[in-house]
Amino acid sequence: MATIKSGTFVPLYGADKAPVPVKAFLLDTYPVTNAEFLAFVKQNPQWQKSKVKRLFADQNYLRHWASDESIGADAAKISNSPIVNVSWFAAKAYCECQGKRLPSVNEWEYAALASESKADATNDERFYQRSLEWYSQPNPQYLPPVQKSFRNYYGVYGMIGLVWEWTSDYNSAMLVDDARSTGSSDQQQFCGSGASNASNVKNYVAFMRYAFRSSLKANYTVANLGFRCAQSSKVSVAQK
């Protein structure tokens, strides 16, 4: 795991552009891989393809695997590639088994601000342009091994350009003040005027992530959605 030092950032939501503090935390260096998830389901049969309850994972759960305990013919190609087609519940259970947890939206977004050389590359045009290009490319048939992905300032791989990732509070609304809208907040999330409420209009890539998250339900599985685990830092690093 890599240590993400504490700091503040201005997330996409919030009318007052108030910086949100993020406490120091630990984040997995890589997204969880097919091989790692396979080991997990072998130990926890209730998370195997044929045994999982629909409440916790939809019918496409692990659809790219041959069977309950086998990746199948593509194993050689994708063992070290990020696991996908997993639900929020499955991701959460995996992390809990390791004594970890899913990162919060704020933690994930804060860590994702980093380029190769800077913890906060918000104003780095070139980095931003590259992120946009990453997001505009279709998924390859076989996702690359996690070690072959973009490594950021913290030594964390694949935060951008590999797969989308689950967060613990993906279902937090992006509304401000008292919620007077009916039902879902999708209008605020997807409508173009929603973007004008974004604190940094330039940051369209983050906006795409928030919009994507808001479209998810906890038992959904998606062919390019994986996860990595986090842990609250047990050591508070004094930084003057």
């Binding site: 209730q46 998370w47 959460k92 609304a173 050591v235």
Partner: protein, 213 residues
């Protein structure tokens, strides 16, 4: 954790040790019903269906401070909503909407139809606070169950109810307003979205369950 832990400069030995111990240990508390233990007090019930919310094995406290599992709500139709008691605008409306439904559905006894309020603010909404809230809103204890749990458990239930909520820095909670209808098995059969929504559809959905023929 990967096979080659990234060398850290900080004294993270503590954190690492904890991870390493956990790494190969089998999961002891899966959040499914695989290892469900039924307490002596629990009624023996049939196996839960795949889509029953009562598959959640989390522990909750009601307004009387009694610990319970969600499956205790099994066996009758339930209307479920998420609120918090210090909420100024939306939650009183949600409770009012639920009372309208209660009136429209008064032909069903409290053994047939229950109403459940789940707090989104466990820090402030202790069982005692929930009990006061129920009393000051004249919520009959036979009909209404108010629940609190850990933030994680609440977040998990919210995910299943499709309730989106967020704590802002000012102590407000932004949230979507949804009343969910669960059948006796705990499956979602209908959701009423918004505030002051016409209850007709929800009433029809409850009647469609044909619970007291």
């Amino acid at each position: 954790m990967k096979s080659a832990p990234y060398p850290l400069l900080f004294a993270l030995a503590l954190g690492f040790a904890a991870c390493q111990q956990e790494e190969h240990s089998c999961c002891v508390k899966p959040n499914t019903t695989a290892n469900r233990t039924t307490t002596a007090a629990a009624q023996p019930v049939g196996a839960l269906t795949d889509m029953s919310l009562y598959n959640l094995s989390s522990s909750w406290s009601n307004q009387n401070g009694e610990d319970l599992k969600l499956e205790k709500l099994q066996g009758k139709t339930q209307l479920v909503a998420m609120i918090y008691t210090s909420c100024g605008y939306a939650c009183p409306r949600t409770v009012a909407d639920l009372k309208v439904l209660e009136n429209r559905l008064s032909k069903y006894s409290s053994d047939e139809l229950g109403i459940v309020l789940v707090t989104m603010d466990p820090a402030r909404d202790t069982p005692a606070v929930l009990k006061d809230f129920a009393a000051s809103n004249s919520l009959s204890p036979d009909r209404w169950t108010l629940l609190t749990s850990t933030p994680d458990n609440i977040q998990e239930l919210a995910a299943l109810l499709n309730v989106k909520y967020k704590n802002d820095l000012k102590g407000n909670i932004s949230h979507s307003n949804i009343i969910t209808l669960l059948n006796a098995q705990g499956e979602i059969v209908h959701q009423q979205e918004g505030l002051g929504t016409d209850p007709a559809e929800t009433v029809k959905a409850v009647e469609g369950l044909r619970i007291n023929l």
